[in-house]
């Protein structure tokens, strides 16, 4: 039974690491996209 707990722990923690890593990419992408959009708008207003 203890072995099964270890197997589940390994899979759950492993997937959690990948999921959190993907979330950090998505979050960084979203904030950069907002920044590009904001700068492009200010550039258009400047022209």
């Amino acid at each position: 039974m203890k072995s099964l707990d270890s197997v589940f722990a390994a899979y759950i923690i492993g997937w959690a690491v990948f999921f959190v890593f993907y979330l950090t990419i998505a979050k960084r992408t979203s904030s950069l996209r907002k920044e590009v959009h904001r700068l492009k708008n200010s550039l258009n207003r400047g022209k």
Binding site: V7, A10, R28, R33
Partner: protein, 225 residues
């Protein structure tokens, strides 16, 4: 947007299928029974991580040769994704080791060389935060990345050259090694699923790096006004 969603759904399906076959299709192992099923996750993640570092190494070489920004973007994307995979390997390994060996960690050749690999790629990413000028940052990190890759063959060979705590290889391990045919099929399917996940994460991370370049260009335009 739709392409990304379909890609993500395909990756989730594939890794879900790999988990299913690891639990329900692969037969039990004689000594470790259900515990050995961590192998399909742990070893497959290690293979995918090593592939990411190999692509990073090739991209670093191409950057030094061609000085094209896209190779630097690919190298940093692969380094970060490879690091995530090796982090998973370093977490799942001790979870497996405790019930199998009675200890979470020992400074054996394979474990130590993998930990050193993890530290090397952390250093690679840290180095990039310390250099402001983009071309200088790309060149220095490419050179460091080429150096860091030296540890990958050491990790591969550690269980072949030195007999310490980590088990001997069951794949590419010589005449006395090998896997049961069903186990081998499940393992290679898990390796495929992990590689697809790795490619998906690299593509997402590369998109982020491209966006960073775009931001730099727009910033320069704004400053020029």
């Amino acid at each position: 947007m739709w392409k990304r969603a379909i890609g993500a759904a395909f990756v989730v399906f594939l890794v879900g299928a790999a988990a299913y076959v690891s639990f329900y299709v692969a037969p039990d192992e004689k000594t470790m029974h259900v515990l050995y099923r961590i192998f399909y996750f742990h070893a497959a993640a290690a293979w995918a991580g090593m592939t990411a570092f190999f692509i990073c190494f090739v991209a670093n070489l191409l950057y030094v040769w061609r000085r094209d920004e896209k190779w630097d973007s690919l190298a940093v994307s692969c380094a970060e994704v490879g690091l995530a995979f090796i982090t998973v390997v370093l977490i799942t390994g001790p979870i497996w080791a405790k019930p199998a060996w009675g200890i979470y960690w020992t400074w054996d050749a394979r474990l130590t060389s993998t930990f050193v690999l993890w530290l090397l790629y952390i250093s690679y990413l840290l180095l990039r935060t310390l250099v402001e000028e983009p071309d200088r940052r790309a060149l220095l990190s490419a050179l460091f990345g080429i150096f860091a890759f030296i540890d990958v063959p050491i990790v591969f060979g550690a269980i072949r050259w030195w007999r310490t705590q980590h088990p001997a290889p069951v794949i590419m391990g010589g005449p006395n090694s090998g896997l049961d045919p069903t186990m081998a099929k499940v393992f290679f399917f898990s390796v495929l699923a992990m590689h697809v996940l790795m490619a998906f994460l690299v593509a997402e991370r590369y998109g982020l790096e491209k966006l960073r370049t775009d931001l730099e260009l727009v910033r320069r335009e704004v400053e020029a006004i």
